[in-house]
């Protein structure tokens, strides 16, 4: 078969496919309009910064060390109800990134190690926040698997 005949036959298949596609679409009940009138409501998450993080069991946290920065990723109401001693509240929002000013404040603490805990759900806000902080330049960021419930002893760490 010559290259020209190959291209011609391929073009014929495309034409036949178009005829079949439009014909079937015309007769089926759930056919779609040939030209969309409204833009499609697509949701593609923007690329988020994420970096290397490490797991840290509740028993491994050095509560007496001033250079250890403990962050509570839960909502302020939950933070008020209970939080680990010395923890800062940086609520994690799945849609809004942490404010640049907050990141700057956290970096200024020059902590040796950053420990984040969240709600312990799946996905865990603590793990998500830890990943974001690490992705935005903080070093040696850890998260507590099981989050606040694990720290409170409600769930075995």
């Amino acid at each position: 078969m010559s290259p020209l005949a190959t291209v011609r036959d391929a073009a014929l298949v495309v034409v036949l496919s178009a005829v079949l596609a439009l014909g079937v679409n015309a007769v089926r009940k759930d056919g779609i309009p040939l030209v969309a009138t409204e833009p499609y409501d697509i949701f593609v998450p923007c690329p988020e910064p994420s970096g290397e993080i490490f797991e840290l069991a509740p028993g491994e946290i050095d509560w007496g060390d001033d250079r250890e920065l403990v962050i509570d990723a839960r909502m302020p109401a939950e933070f008020e109800e209970w939080h680990a001693a010395g923890a800062r509240n940086v609520p994690f929002d799945f849609l809004d990134p942490v404010a640049d000013e907050t990141i700057e404040e956290l970096v200024k603490t020059r902590s040796r190690r950053v420990v984040v805990y969240g709600d312990g759900q799946n996905p865990d806000t603590g793990e998500e926040l830890a990943s974001e902080l690490s992705g935005r330049g903080m070093r040696n960021v850890h998260f507590v698997p099981g989050g606040a419930p694990a720290l409170r002893g409600e769930v075995a760490p």
Binding site: A10, G31, V35, I42
Partner: protein, 159 residues
């Protein structure tokens, strides 16, 4: 060099490649034909085509996949079918590369099976690259060792 190109074994190596690609494309078109609306959303997610072309693409492409897949499976006009598959693979590779370069976190929509698609990644790109290489191999080396083309050719000769 010409000896390598004219080696008869190519034809038999191209046969399983042809059948494999046929199965891939027949599987790929199934859900797309069943639910063109969902596939149109997949096409729109790539954010490459203008709105006016999204539905047409979503309607016609799966039927090209179906016909090309059937032709490869049956060995009917194998080269035009391989040419179509190669063209589609190039198109998919370009779309994937653009989406990956933009950092889009999305399913590839390759098989359009209601969220069952894995997110796009460089692995998807490599996989599609392999499929493109296979389709080019079939396009260049298939000598119709088995299939309707050979049967039709024999009948024509006999008559």
């Amino acid at each position: 060099m010409s000896g390598v190109l004219t080696w008869r074994g190519h034809s038999w190596i191209a046969l399983p490649a042809r059948v494999y690609l046929a199965v891939v494309f027949l599987l790929a078109c199934y859900f797309k034909i069943l639910d063109p609306g969902a596939f149109a959303l997949d096409v729109a997610t790539y954010q490459i085509l203008p709105l006016s072309l999204i539905n047409l693409q979503a309607l016609i492409l799966p039927w090209v996949e179906l016909l090309a897949g059937l032709m490869l499976l049956l060995g009917l006009r194998t080269r035009p079918a391989a040419l179509l598959v190669s063209g589609m693979m190039v198109m998919f590779l370009v779309a994937l590369t653009i989406a990956l370069a933009q950092g889009l976190d999305m399913g590839c929509g390759c098989f359009a099976n209601e969220g069952g698609d894995d997110p796009i990644s460089w692995h998807t790109l490599v996989r599609d690259g392999i499929w493109l290489a296979l389709s080019l191999y079939v396009l260049i080396f298939d000598r119709r060792p088995l299939g309707l083309d050979r049967l039709l050719e024999r009948k024509t000769r006999e008559s």
